[in-house]
Every structure is written in structure tokens, then in C-alpha cells.
Amino acid sequence: MDGTSANAFVAFDHVQKSYDGEILVVKDLNLFIDKGEFLTMLGPSGSGKTTCLMMLAGFETATHGDILLDGRPINNIPPHKRGIGMVFQNYALFPHMTVGENLSFPLEVRGMSKAVREEKVAKALDMVQMGEFASRRPAQLSGGQQQRIALARALVFEPELVLMDEPLGALDKQLREHMQYEIKHIHERLGVTVVYVTHDQSEALTMSDRIAVFDDGRIQQLAPPEDLYERPENAFVAQFIGENNKMIGTVTAIEGSTATVTLSDGMSVNALAVNCEGVGKPTMLSIRPERVKIGEAGENTADALVSELIYLGDHIRCRMTVAGNDEFIVKVPNAAGHTHLRVGETAKVSWLTEDCRALDAV
């Protein structure tokens, strides 16, 4: 699934958005979403992801550029004619209507007959296992139940595109994880296109086909979850997704895909040249904690002073000082015969060149 402009179901074409005419909150957004795809917009607050969603839903207008839905520009189509389902952060269930009336509302405004409405409402409620709650009021339901109703309401009129604006934000951790799987399964079963906004990276990694990482009004990287984690293309993504060890240095040589980097303490390491500007330029090296090994087996080796050990059952989290960085984390698997470290001890750590990515300096 790599959406291109030609056959995209949803397309953002050079979209810009400004609220005050001075600051662009969305800067030249180009994003193509395929039919049936689950795409997540992930980013810190203020990164422009919600604004993009609101422009797609029609509650904000793009300052520049076109948004296309199924090939049609929708900039001038009012929200109620777009036929896009939406799940809101606080669910936005109508408090004065019962659950059944809430679900019936989109069908009613579409002029469907009572019999058809009842059938569809019952079907949608069954889908989220809430069949018995049709006559309740939203206030009588728990957060998780309201969430399901909101989901059912956004799907009951069978839209081809459903937008979700941090729908799980108000739930506790356990329920949130459960709902993630549920939403994922509903998506797989119905085949609708979902655009999902969240600031929770584990939510994004769990559910998405592709994730667009937003920062500063731009998409920093658009990739499937595993690519995003394993092959971040810039320093922001490497830092934002998962845990990251960063080392600052200067590029001294580039040979093919390998860059030689001199770190701040004078040590020289090899890294995969991903996004470094060239010889003599600063760079940030990124290594995932679980890709660092204790011992000298790897292609790059460094001395590491053990400063903290945290026992986490399946692995031991080890904070070390490497090349002047005292926040260097290594996850030591709790396997048979693993190395036992002690605080204050100096050990050797090593990693493969391809696991160490030379990115842009931040």
C-alpha cells in the first residue's frame, strides 16, 4: 500500500493551513491514502495532525491546496455532504437522545424509513456488542461503552471513510488496549478507510497500515509501523518513536552507504548514512537500545560505564555512559548465561554498523 496521487482515495495536494495569516500550522502537506487503508496521523500536540483531520472532515478550510476524496475536490463541499464518519475525542454522543436515537440520527437525516433504520441500528449495535443498550442514555454508560456507541454511530450509515480524533484518549490503559484491537478488527471486517489521529505511538504502531509522523506542520516520515521504528529517516522520528540512544558527532567520511563519524569524545564509529548532509557536517547517530550488545562481538565497540540497572523481569534495563552520553540505554535480555553487570563497572558495548543510523543533527 503505497498511495500515489493517481489512484488515491483521499489526497492532500499541497495543502497549507494558517489560522492567523502569520503562522502556518500545516506546511505543504502531500498525503495520499488508499481505499481500505488504516492511516494514522501521529505527532505531538500542536503538530498539525488534528487540523489536517478537521480539514478532511470539513470543519476547517484549507488556506491553500486541494483535498480530494475519491478524485473529487471537496474543499467547497460542506461537512454534512461529505459522507465521512467521525469519532470524536469526547465521543460527542447527543446527551438528550438514547443510544438508539443517536445511531438512528444519521439514517434519519438521510430520509431512511423506520424499518430500515431499526435494522441498521440493531446491526451496528451488534457489531460493537452493545445490542441491549439501545434504550439507554449516553450518561448511563461507562466510558468504554460510550466509545463503542460513538464508533457504531460513525459506521452505521456505512461511510467509506471514517475519521477518528484520539478516540481512546479518555479511557484507562487496559480498556484502551482492548479497544485498539476491537477497532482494528472492525476495520479489517468492514474494509473502510480509516484516518486516525493520536499522540500515543503504541496505539499507532498497533493499529495502523501506515503512520504519518507529524511535527511542526509537516509529515516527518510516512511509513508502515516496522519501517518507522527500525528505519527512522530523521532525528525527530528516531526520538519520537520508541526508545532511542543518540550520539552527536561530525561526519568525517562517507563511503557508499557507510559514514564514518567522530563523536564528541573523539571516538570514531561507522554508521549507516541515512540522512547526513555530507563530510564535515554534524550528525545524530541513532541506535535502538535492544540492538546494542554487551561484549565485543559487533562491528563498532565502545567503553561503557554502568550507572544504573533496573530489573524488569524479561530484560534488564541498563543505563550507561557511552561517548559522553550518560543516557545511553541498553536492554540486556534476561537469557540463560547473560552478562551480569554491576553499577560502576566499565564494560564493552558493541553494535552493527547497519543498526546505527546517521541522521540529521537536531
Binding site: H80, P106, V109
Partner: protein, 418 residues
């Protein structure tokens, strides 16, 4: 630590019942809470509740006659109000007239009886002057003085006046007269004014409430959607009338609305009307409604605004994303959410306007006078406090009934005043 005994109530650790223990523990904080409200409670009791109760009591209890004419009160109580007055009754009356004249209270008695039968005032005052010199038989002596004393209706009026605890004033307040034999009958047609006045007051209040709603709802909506800074600024404009004296605002309307006033001048200038056919916008019902709407508008806007501020924009967005047009989203989703505000605002405005006094008095003219103006009239001019109290009591009762109906339909808990 508590102990559950299988048979008795829950016990505290030392064996005393838990409820008693809890009451002891809470006693001090209750005393403190009462101490905090006590000054206000006393103030309200002394300045508000007691005077109102006293006045309401006057609506059913007027002892002017009983107090100053004790002997005739006793014989009138025996009398059946149909047979001819006896010599004994005349004797008691003369004795009372003499005492009342000596204590200079005869005027009060005369006024009281005159309320029941007009034209009897001078009968009392003049007879009292010569009562001291009268001799038996008193019947002939009195009739000799004024032949009206033979009229049974005068005696019936005296009997009604002699009853201290009487429904007469409430009957008068709903255009009925109370007869000496205990029956009620509708008042003469040209004296039936209060029911009509009550209805007019309700109609004006309703009109003012509707006007306030129509004008206030869009303003409150605008204020609630604007950014906080702008809406605060505009809110000051809404509140500005609050900080201006009621009298100033009302007189300003006089300057605006009178026939040589600003509005009529504009109408003439733009050719809406000719100079000799200026609209009469004041000293009538129109003036009352215009001025009252303006003065009461903030009471509608404030609760509406506070409710609307609390409505998340995502409700309307959700409705639109579900396919509702702007109107449907407003009518089916936004409007029902504002009902608590509408209820609170309408109730406030309606109740306030039911008892409105100054504005109708100043700009109402003949036509725009409301029930409260008549109450004031009875308090200040005719000095018929009992009738004023009865009218006020009815007004109070109607407000309480309205409040009760509102509670039944909308629920007081749903009301948001800001």
C-alpha cells in the same frame, strides 16, 4: 473501626451506635456552618420574611372594626344578617360610636365600613358626633339623625367589616364580593378590574419573555462562539445596563420613544410616517413592553450564555459529520442542549416582569399599568393594605405555581443561572 452486629445497628469501636457517633462528630461542623449563615438568616428574617408574612396576614385579617367597636362586634356576630336590627344592636352601636369618637378612631372605622358599602363614611362620622347626647330608644335616635341607619345593607356592611378574619379581600382581588350571609357573588361589571389586570400582567410578562428570548438567544450564541477576549468585551456591553440606574434607563426610553422623541424624529425623516401622525410608542402598552424587554434582557442572556459556553462544539460537528444540515444540527442537537438555559432565563424574566413596578409606572401611561402598580396604589393612596396584601398574595401564589410547573416539566436541577 466499626463492628457489624448481626441483630442491631452498626456500632462504633466503643460500642455506641455508629449513627449517634457520626452525629456527634458532625455536630461541631454543623454549628459552625449555622454560625456562618446566621447573620444573613436573621437579616432576611427581620427585613424580608416577617414583614411579608405580616402583610400577607393582613390580606385575610383586618381587625379595625373589632378593635374600635367591640360591643357592636359582639352583637353583630349574633345577628343573622337578614332580620331587622334590634334595639340591643342600636344600643351597642351608640356605645361604640361614643368611645370611638372619644379615642378619635371613628375615621378608621368609617373608612373600613365604607370599603364594604360606599357612601357610609359620613354616616358614621356625623352620627358619632351626636352619639354622646343620644338617649333610649337608640334605634329611633339614630334613624332620626340619619335615616340610612334603617337600611339593612348598612348593617350588613358593618357585619362584614366586623369579621376580622375574612375572605373579603381575596374575593375582591378576584372581582367577587363577599356578602354578610357568607356567600360570594361577582362584583358589579364596572368594578371588575383585577382579573383583567392579572391577565394583562401575565400577557405582558409573556410578551416580554418572548421578546427577550428572541433578542437574547442569537446574542448569547454569538458571545459563546467568539474567543474569550472578544466575548468578554461584548459581555460588558450586555452588562452595562445592569450598572446603570433603572430610573435612568427608563427615562432614557422616554426620550427615545416619546412623540417628539428620537425614534419618531427618525421615522419622520425617513418618511415612514408624517409629522402629524407620529407613532405613540410610549405611555401605553408598547412603551411598557419595549422598556421592560430592554431592562430584563441581561437576565435572559446570562443563563443562556453560560449554558451555551458549556456546549462542546463537537456536538454540532458530530451532527454535521453524520449528515445533518446546519438547520437540523441546530434544531435537533444544539437547541435541546440549550433548553436548561432557556428555562432559567425565561423563568427569571417572567417572574421579574410579573412584579415589575417602576417601568410600567413611568412609561406605561393609563394602558400599560400592571398589577403591581395597583398594589402600590392601594398601599400608598387608598391605604387599603388588606386588598394590596390579597393582590400581592395572589401574585406570590402564581409565581410559586409557575415555579412548581417549571420544576415538573423541566426540573429545577436542570436550571443553570450562570
Amino acid at each position: 473501626m466499626s463492628d457489624v452486629s448481626p441483630t442491631g445497628p452498626m456500632l462504633a469501636a466503643d460500642g455506641t451506635p455508629l449513627k449517634k457517633k457520626l452525629a456527634q462528630a458532625l455536630f461541631l461542623s454543623r454549628v459552625r456552618a449555622f454560625g456562618l449563615v446566621a447573620p444573613l438568616l436573621l437579616f432576611i428574617l427581620a427585613s424580608f420574611i416577617v414583614p411579608i408574612m405580616t402583610l400577607l396576614w393582613q390580606g385575610v385579617h383586618n381587625n379595625t372594626y373589632e378593635k374600635y367597636m367591640p360591643q357592636s362586634t359582639a352583637v353583630l356576630a349574633e345577628w343573622d344578617a337578614v332580620s331587622a336590627p334590634t334595639e340591643e344592636m342600636y344600643a351597642a352601636l351608640v356605645a361604640d360610636l361614643v368611645t370611638a369618637r372619644e379615642t378619635r378612631d371613628i375615621g378608621k372605622v368609617a373608612t373600613r365600613v365604607n370599603r364594604e358599602k360606599s357612601g357610609t363614611r359620613s354616616l358614621f362620622t356625623s352620627s358619632a358626633r351626636s352619639a354622646a347626647k343620644m338617649e333610649t330608644p337608640f334605634r329611633e335616635a339614630l334613624i332620626d339623625k340619619d335615616e340610612d341607619w334603617a337600611d339593612i345593607e348598612v348593617w350588613q356592611a358593618m357585619k362584614i367589616a366586623s369579621l376580622s378574619l375574612t375572605p373579603a379581600f381575596y374575593a375582591a382581588a378576584v372581582d367577587y364580593t363577599y356578602n354578610a350571609d357568607g356567600s360570594f357573588e361577582p362584583a358589579e361589571e364596572n368594578r371588575q378590574i383585577y382579573v383583567f389586570l392579572f391577565l394583562k400582567t401575565f400577557a405582558v410578562s409573556l410578551a416580554v419573555t418572548v421578546c427577550c428570548f428572541l433578542l437574547g438567544y442569537p446574542v448569547a450564541y454569538l458571545l459563546s462562539t467568539l474567543p474569550m477576549r472578544t466575548s468578554n468585551l461584548l459581555m460588558i456591553l450586555v452588562l452595562l445596563p445592569f450598572w446603570t440606574s433603572l430610573l435612568v434607563r427608563t427615562t432614557a426610553w422616554i426620550a427615545m420613544l416619546q412623540s417628539q422623541g428620537v425614534l419618531n424624529d427618525i421615522f419622520v425623516t425617513i418618511g415612514l410616517t408624517s409629522d402629524d401622525q407620529r407613532f405613540s410608542l410610549i405611555y401605553n402598552m408598547t412603551g411598557t413592553i419595549i422598556a421592560m424587554t430592554h431592562i430584563l434582557l441581561p437576565f435572559m442572556i446570562l443563563p443562556l450564555y453560560s449554558v451555551m459556553r458549556g456546549i462542546s462544539p463537537s456536538y454540532v460537528r458530530a451532527a454535521k459529520s453524520l449528515g445533518a444540515t446546519n438547520w437540523t444540527a441546530f434544531w435537533r442537537v444544539y437547541f435541546p442542549a440549550t433548553i436548561p438555559g432557556i428555562g432559567a432565563g425565561a423563568l427569571l424574566v417572567f417572574i421579574l416582569s410579573i412584579g415589575y413596578y417602576i417601568t410600567p409606572a413611568l412609561v406605561g401611561g393609563q394602558d400599560g399599568q400592571l398589577i403591581s402598580n395597583f398594589i402600590a396604589d392601594h398601599m400608598q393612596k387608598t391605604l387599603n393594605w388588606s386588598l394590596a396584601a390579597a393582590l400581592g398574595g395572589l401574585l406570590l401564589a402564581s409565581v410559586l405555581i409557575l415555579y412548581w410547573i417549571y420544576d415538573k416539566i423541566v426540573g429545577i436541577d436542570n436550571m443553570k443561572l450562570g
